[in-house]
Structure formats: C-alpha cells, structure tokens
C-alpha cells in the first residue's frame, strides 16, 4: 500500500469479528432494502461503512444509525417496527436522539459547537438538511441539490435576496452559504465561520482590513453598518441609497448636508454617479497623510 496505516487496515463486515448481540449485519438489511442499499453503497458514507470500516461502529453499517435490527427482522419488518430509527418526518424518535446518531461520529471540526447552537436549540434535525442514503448533492450529502436550496427551505428571505441586482455570486454558483456561515454552530450569533463578522469579510476582502492612518470609525466595528451581504438594490450591496446612507450619520460636516437632487446642477457631484464616493473614494480608510476625509 502506498500509505501504510496499521490503525486503518479495513476489516470487511463479519470478517473474523462477531457483531454485537441484537445486530444482524448489512447483508441482512440488503435482503429487503435492496434499492436503498444499492444507492447507499455509492455514497461517501456507504463506501466507508460497507467497504472500509475503521471500527466496530462503522462496521455495523446500516445499524450504526438505524439501530440494531434483530427485533425488526424477527417481527417481519415494517416502518419503525422493532424500534428502528427511520429518520422520517413521522419518526416518533425525538430529534435530539436522532441527531445523536450523527453527532456521535460527527463531533469534530465544524461540528464541535453543534450543541447549544441556534439550529440545535430549535430541534432542527440533521436530516432536515442532509441526506446520506443517496447522493442528491455533489458535496456534503445535502438534502437538496445545492446549499441555497437546502438553506432556503427555511430562510426564504435570504434565498430571495440573492436574486437582487446587487449581489455576491451565489446564484452564479461561485459562492455558497457556507462560504461565510457554518450552520453547525460557531462562536458568533449569525453562525459565521470566522471569529467575527468583519473577519469573515476580510477573509476575501483583505484590502479593507487596514489598519489605516485614517480610520472610518464604523468600518472596523461592523461591515454590515453599511452593507447587506445577502443582496440589495443599491450598488455594492449597500443597505440604503447614497447619499442618504452617508447623511444618516453626517448631518453637518465641512460642506453641510443638503437635500440635493435632480436638476440641482451645482451639486450634481453629490448625487450622481457614486455620489459621496465621487470624492471620498477611500471610504473604508486611507493610508495617505492627506486622507483625513478619505479623498486621497
């Protein structure tokens, strides 16, 4: 083998190892559930459990998630018969117990903060978002073909926002919800992947990180003071139209705050094109000695 791994040498189901009492083995399940078995064995989890199990739990295959099948078999089968966990919507098994079947193994990395997370606290089942019995999505065993569809099942407004004229490339398939969020739980209230909102934005927009000689105070505190990253009808995903966005805070200032508009040709530079940013181009911060007002 190109990569020797004694701890990893696979043991085929039943190959010299007895199954625990009450378990019947995957081949027995296949006898009645041939279609599901055929689809499952082509999934990432199916290949691991059925062909490369690393321990007894994985070797149990179907029964490692659905529970021991002996009573189910002896009773002649049937949905839920013999105390099997079906993971279906009408499964009487409490969501917390169903999720435990997943988190017993999936407790590392991004799943570390699942307990107490926003989704766990509201009894969202792992199987609301994931489907492991067949490959529906290219990655992450999602219940729907894409992340936007999966998350959009509940977050309808966020999914709709991706269709707005000013948006990040989600609907073009260049980003996904998990580019910024970890739905399994993080240290932030919005389940952001990094340690804070700005850190999440800086991961790609590192030029905004600074520090700059002249700092625009709201910038390092919260990018969403001015931007709505899910989509907007204003350029650069701004939350409201310029110049009113700027005038929300800058009421007077060196050149006043006037209700300029169309036809007021003397002040068109304040309301046309990029409005305030026509002159204050370095609005996120300036490292220029004369950049006090972000014009250099």
């Amino acid at each position: 083998k190109p990569w020797p791994a004694p701890a990893q040498q696979p043991t085929a189901p039943g190959a010299g190892t007895e199954l625990p009492a009450g378990y019947v083995g995957a081949e027995t399940c296949k006898g009645c559930h041939a279609d599901q078995f055929e689809r499952f064995e082509h999934t990432k989890m199916g290949r691991l459990f059925l062909k490369q199990p690393r321990n007894m739990r994985e070797r149990l295959a179907c029964e490692s998630c659905h529970g021991p099948g002996q009573k189910h078999v002896e009773a002649g089968g049937g949905r839920g018969v013999g105390g099997m966990i079906t993971f279906a919507k009408n499964d009487p098994t409490p969501v917390a117990k169903r999720n435990e079947m997943c988190t017993t193994c999936h407790s590392k990395g991004p799943h570390l903060l699942w307990k107490g997370s926003a989704h766990e606290a509201r009894d969202v089942a792992c199987t609301n978002c994931h489907k492991v019995m067949e490959d529906v999505s290219p990655r992450h065993s999602l219940a729907k073909a894409t992340e936007i569809e999966t998350c959009g099942t509940c977050h309808l407004q966020k999914r709709a926002a991706t269709m707005r004229s000013s948006h990040m490339p989600l609907r073009e398939g260049k980003m996904t919800c998990t580019s910024c969020h970890n739905p399994h739980g993080t240290v932030t209230a919005s389940l952001l992947k990094e340690n804070g909102l700005n850190e999440t934005c800086y991961a790609c927009h590192a030029e905004k990180r600074g520090p700059f000689l002249w700092t625009h105070a709201p910038v390092p505190e919260n990018c969403s003071n001015c931007h709505d990253p899910h989509g907007s009808n204003h350029e650069n995903m701004l939350k409201t139209a310029k110049p009113r966005l700027c005038q929300s805070c800058h009421i007077l200032g060196p050149h006043g705050s006037y209700p300029d508009g169309r036809g007021d040709t003397g002040t068109l530079r304040f309301v046309m094109g990029r409005q305030c940013l026509n002159c204050h181009a370095n609005i996120h911060g300036s490292n220029h000695p004369s950049g006090k007002f972000f014009t250099r």
Binding site: K108, K174, A203, A206, A241, I251, D260, V271
Partner: protein, 738 residues
C-alpha cells in the same frame, strides 16, 4: 459501463456541446450586467466533466471535476484520498466581475494607475466628447486556487492544512477631487487592481467521547502591487480666461492669480497588511447532561507601508509644515475573542438551559500621529496651528490621526421547556455592551434583549416556529463634539449616529411548514422588524422592515415534481437632517426630512417531468425579481418642496426632487433531455434573460456633464449597467459510465 484503467476502476460522466444566441444577443455595451459574474459566449463549451478512479475495495480513490473550460469563469478540482485516512484536494476557480462596458475618458494610462490628459484646445476636448476613447472592460477577475490536505490517522483525530491564494486583477472606477474645500472639480477614472490574498490555515481536532479539542493557526497576507493612482487635473488645462466656460471655477485653472492649482493629483491605494490568528477551543460533557464549550482566539494585524507625500503639487509641496514624524504607520491591531457556552439538561424533564458569554476586544496599538498641516485635493494647505519642534501644535488644534479601539461583551441566558410533546417554549434574555474609545460619540452602550420562542408540532405534517425578540439600547452619554483629527466634528445638537444611538427594537419571525403528504410541502413565512431611535432628533429616526412569502413543493406523481415560491419585502426608513453649514447649525428653517423605501418582489418556479420514463425528461425554471426604491424629501416648515421662490428655507436647504429607481430581472429556462442509449443523453435547452433598470443617477451620465451650467468640471466615466435581453439556446451530449 464502468471501465478499468491501470488496475483502477473508472466511473464518471462528461457533458459538452455548444450554445448560441437567438437574435443578436447582448451588445458590447450591454454585457456588463449580462456577464456580471460569468462568461457566456456563443460556441462550444464543456458543461461538466467528472472522473472517479477507485480500487475495487474503495480503499483508494481519485476524482477530477471540471466545467466551463476555456471560459473566464472556468473551474475545476482534483481530489485523491485513502478512504477514511487522508484526503488531498485542489480547487481552481475563476470569477470575473464586470463593472462596466460603457466607460469613456480623454486621459491615457501611460503606466499602471498613471493617467495623463493630452493638451486640450476646446470645450469638446475638455469634456471628452471629441477626444475620449472607450474603456471597454472595466472589470476585476478573481482567480482562486486552494490546496487542502486532511489526515485522519484515527477516527477521533483530524489534522488539516489549507492554503488559498486569491489573485485579483483588473480595474474599477475611482474618483479624485481637486482644489479647494470639498473639491471644486473632480475626475472619475480607473483604479488598477493588482492584489493578492494568501491564506494559510493549519489546524486539528481531537474528539473523544467525553471531550473534544480544536486548535488552529491562520496566516492571512494581503499584497497590493500598486500603492497609488495619479490623475491629471482637467481644470488645470483650462485655457487663459476660459476656465469658467469649461465649467471650472476661474480660481481653479492655471490662470489663477494664486497659481497653486494642482496639475495632477495622487491618491493612495490599500496598503499591504498581514494577520496572524491563533485559535484554541474545546468541549467537554459534564454530569447532569451538561456540556461546556470554550473558544479563545488572538489575532495580530500588522501594516507598515511607507506613506505617500502629502501632495505632488510642486507649488505647495515645499511647505515646511508638510512633514510627518515618521515614514509609516507601524500599524498594529490586536483582537481577543473569548467565547464560553454551557448547555444543560439537569432534570429528568424536557428542560434545556443554556448560557453564553462572549468577549470581543479590538485594540489598535498603531502609532498615534500628531503632525503638521495636510492638503485637501492637492490644493489648499490645511493648517493645524504652528508645529513646534516637539511635533505638537501651538496656536491651533492639533491634527491627530487617532487610534480607535473597542470592546464588546455579549451574554445570553435561555431556557427551553417542552410543555407537552408537540409544544416547546423558549424564554431568555441577553445583554450586549460596547465600550468605545474617546474618538466616538458614545463611550458606552448597553443593550438588553428578551427572547420568546414557541415551536409547535401538533401533527407530523405541521411545524410552526414563532420568535419574538425585543431589545433596548441605551447609551452613557452622547458627545457631539468629539475630536476628529484634532478638530471638533461640530455635529448638530441632538444628532445621533444610528450605530451608536439609543434604540428600541421589536422583531417577530414566523415560519410554518405544512407537509400533509410526503409529496407536498407548503411553507409560509413572515418577518417584521421595527427600530425606533428614540432620542435621535436628527439622523435616522426609525426603520421598519417586513417580509412575507410562501414556498410550495409538490410531487403529484413520481414522474412530475414542481416547486414555486414568492416573497415580498419592504424596508422603510425616516431621516431628519439640517441643510446648513456648521456656522448655521441653529437655523431650524434649514431642516429637511427624507423617507427612503426599498421594495422587493421575488418569484421562482421550477419543475421536472419524465415525459417518457427513463427516455425523455423535461425541466423548466423561472425567476422574476424586481425592486423599487424611492426617496421622498421635504422641508417641515411651510414650504413647497423644491420651490426656488421660497424665502424661509435657505436655498441650499430646500428639498430637491429625487426620482425613483427600479430594476427587474427575468430568467426563464427549459430543457429536454433524451436518454437515447444506456449511457448517452442528448439535451436541447433554451434560456431567456432580461434585465431592465431605471436610475437617473447613472442613466444620465452621458458620460460627461461639465457642459451643464455650474457643474464645476465634474467628469465621470459614464459607466452604467445597461439593460439587456438575451435568448440563449444550447445543445449538449452527455456520456455516463458507472
């Protein structure tokens, strides 16, 4: 038709074909929006390629994926691994971002970021109507490469390393003003983008049954190949006596008696920076069904690029007060992020208690600058008093580039109790405190939250979630005369900035999910939020937003699936301001009110039908998204808005008309897929796309406006996102071997 290559099994699929535009397709000037984040051209294309090599026992496998090869938005990935032990992945993605295909300018870029104006003789030379050339593609392309290696030597230990490189190349519109005050004339040109972001992450997780540990290090480096842009000042070239005719103020041309008008200006671009982040966290299961998790992170951000000079205007660059105490910022920002969370089910009851605390502290330890004069628009020297040898100011306010730090605390407590099997109630509260430095108006705010949530599942076909979350933010004080660069900001009395202002917030969210059968799901949703800035006599006074929508998924029979959804959203804000310069801040007749609303309607539908099972499939999809924005402005005193005859309201404070703006996107697509052999599929597709917008702020940039009276030599690029209509047809052939 799975095959074997070199002792490995191979399975996969490939789909390729050609696409073409029915009718002409979007013209060049219309392609900015059409190809905003993509590359769609007539001709052959690779829709999808997937190859998976694997040993018979699935011990080893390798996978190769790709699509849109040869296009600006191509992507592919390569993965290989030993099942359950290690995995190597490489991803490559190109994402174009088209910003404009309609920009024009008279200037020429002689080197990256240096734009020179040829001699001008007439107004048409000046405003570019006669001399400008087109800047066809104002765009930035992101090329992202990612290497990732994951090792799982035992099922409870995972180690990973990841390196990501994002290269951004292109340009984007950038404005520069020249002259006195807030800029008597300005020029819009292009800022070159030649930037690279390196991101290296090393980490691991050890997960035992009772406890888990996660640790990691992240290095993020930003490199900017360019540190400045330089533009010629068109007004400087206004011929003798002709500056006014050119729309420039006479004093802003080279003919001015006080001949310090800048021939050109120079602006800075984002400096290089570097961030180190160390992270450690863990979780432990304690008695009484209690779990405790903790996470700590420390981050150090450094930036030390050399400063540019105050100005490149030789007439004033020699000012002895235009000197800095050092050549760079020595930027140093440190953040500490601590998070503690406890979740417990201590009683033999369906009761869950949870507590969370989070500290986020940002300390800017960069050097604090007190320096001499500075320059506005490369023309006027702004004096900050007399510079003493010690670098402090005498006889005037010091000019200080202060450093801003803040600390945020969050704490939450809540209890969730399942009253009966179908009903769970969550009650809780929270607190958030911001401590800001003296450079912001409010030194401390405390916000208190309450939370009530009910989850009801009376039947296995119904789920209802209702959440109500009010919060109340109060400040310690509001200092309207904070120092900004050593100068009082002179904000109007009772003016409040919305991110610091006292606020009462009410928020309600409702989600229903009906699944009367496995084949039908109906999901209505609604949300309402109201922010009341209770002490903001000026600034944002209130903001209300609500949305309501419905999603339906239906599979009437195995051969047909259908889904559709619609959501409406409205955001409404009210702003009060005073249109007066600081020395007139007491002029109540200069007050003006503005109401801003944004309305969104989004509809989608899609479906798939097996017209002939396993032989002929039909898919269709439809999207319609429209938005409408309005800004209504008026003077509260007895005025006729915009009436120039009004003598009560100062002329420049009279509310001017802001026309509405709107946009619509329609996309319809359908395809027939014919499975004419076991492994072969042919498809015929058609897509219709149409984008339309009306926005007077950019539609009227023709692209130049200096010929308008009193516009003081404003010269834009005239970049605009044009409407488009596209009919796209495609034919592909796919082969699958599994």
């Amino acid at each position: 038709a799975q095959t074997r290559v070199g002792g490995m099994n191979v399975e996969g699929s490939v789909e390729a074909g050609g696409q073409f535009f029915l009718s002409d397709g979007p013209k060049n000037k219309e392609r900015a929006k059409f190809e905003e984040y993509r590359d769609i051209e007539a001709g052959p294309f690779l829709q999808n390629l997937q190859l998976r090599f694997f040993t018979s026992d699935e011990g080893y496998s390798a996978e190769f994926l790709g699509s849109k090869w040869g296009r600006q938005d191509q992507e592919f990935s390569l993965g290989a691994g030993r099942t359950g032990l290690w995995k190597f992945e490489f991803d490559w993605d190109q994402t174009p971002h088209a910003l404009s295909t309609t920009a024009r300018t008279s200037l020429h870029e002689v080197s990256p970021g240096v734009w020179v104006l040829p001699p001008i003789q007439s107004l048409t030379d000046f405003n570019g109507q006669a001399t400008s050339h087109e800047l066809h593609d104002v765009a930035v392309r992101w090329d992202t490469g990612r290497l990732r290696f994951t090792l799982t030597p035992t099922p409870d230990l995972e180690l990973n390393a990841q390196y990501t490189r994002i290269r951004k190349e292109g340009n984007r519109p950038f404005g520069m003003n020249f002259g006195t005050g807030s800029g008597t004339n300005f020029l819009e040109l292009l800022q070159p983008i030649e930037q690279t972001v390196h991101d290296l992450r090393l980490g691991g997780t050890l997960a035992r049954e009772r406890w888990q540990l996660v640790f990691g290090y992240t290095l993020s480096v930003f490199q900017n190949d360019l540190n400045r842009v330089r533009f010629d000042n068109p007004c400087f070239q206004a011929p003798i006596g002709g500056s006014a005719a050119f729309g420039c103020i006479a004093g802003e041309s080279r003919t001015a008696a006080n001949n310090v008008v800048p021939a050109r200006g120079q602006s800075s671009l984002p400096p290089d920076n570097m961030a180190h982040t160390f992270n450690i966290g863990g979780g432990v299961n304690l008695p009484l069904r209690t779990r405790l998790t903790a996470n700590g992170a420390y981050s150090l951000v450094l930036q030390n690029d050399a400063f540019l000079p105050f100005t490149i205007n030789p007439s004033i660059a020699g000012d002895p007060d235009l000197r800095l105490p050092q050549k760079s910022l020595n930027g140093n920002v440190q953040t500490i992020n601590l998070s503690l969370q406890a979740t417990s089910r201590p009683l033999p009851l369906p009761l869950t208690l949870s507590a969370k605390y989070r500290l986020y502290d940002l300390t800017d330890r960069s050097d604090n600058f007190t320096f001499g004069n500075y320059v506005l628009g490369d023309r006027p020297v702004v004096t900050g008093g007399v510079l003493t040898p010690s670098g402090t100011r005498a006889g005037g306010a010091a000019i200080v580039a202060g450093r801003q730090s803040f600390t945020r605390h969050n704490a939450d407590l809540d209890a969730r109790y399942q009253i009966v099997q179908p009903v769970a109630v969550t009650l809780g509260g929270g607190w958030e405190q911001w401590n800001r430095g003296p450079l912001r108006e409010v030194s401390e705010t405390d916000e208190y939250f309450a939370k009530a949530a009910v989850d009801v599942t009376p039947f296995d076909w119904l789920l209802a979630r209702l959440t109500y979350k009010p919060s109340f933010r109060r400040d310690s004080d509001y200092n309207r005369n904070i120092l900004s660069g050593g100068v009082p900001t002179s904000q109007i009395f009772d003016g409040r900035k919305f991110d610091e202002a006292e606020r009462d917030r009410q928020r309600v969210d409702l989600l229903l999910q009906f699944t009367p059968a496995d084949t039908l799901s109906v999901t209505p949703t609604a949300g309402w939020r109201h922010d009341d800035y209770i002490r903001s006599a000026f600034g944002i006074k209130w903001e209300t937003g609500w949305s309501a929508g419905l999603d339906v998924g239906w599979t009437p029979f195995e051969r047909l699936t259908f889904s559709a959804g619609y959501i409406h959203e409205l955001v409404d804000r009210d702003l009060r301001s005073r249109g007066a310069s600081p020395n007139l801040s007491s002029n109540v007749n200069a007050d003006w009110l503005s109401n801003m609303t944004d309305t969104y309607d989004t509809f989608h539908a899609g479906g798939k039908a097996a017209l002939i099972p396993k032989v002929l499939d039909w898919t269709f999809g439809a999207n319609y998204a429209t938005s409408f924005g309005s800004i209504e402005t008026r003077n509260p005193t007895a005025n006729v808005p915009g009436n120039p005859a009004n003598t009560v309201v100062p002329n420049n404070a009279q509310a001017k008309r802001m026309p509405d703006f709107d946009d619509q996107l329609v996309r319809l697509e359908t395809a027939l897929r014919y499975h004419f052999a076991k492994s072969w599929t042919a498809s015929l597709s058609y897509a219709f796309e149409q984008f339309q917008k009306n926005d007077w702020r950019t539609d009227n940039l023709t692209p130049f406006l200096p010929q308008l009276a009193g516009t003081n030599g404003f010269i834009w690029l005239g970049n605009d996102l044009r409407n488009y209509t596209a009919h796209i047809a495609g034919v592909t052939l796919a082969y699958t071997f599994k």
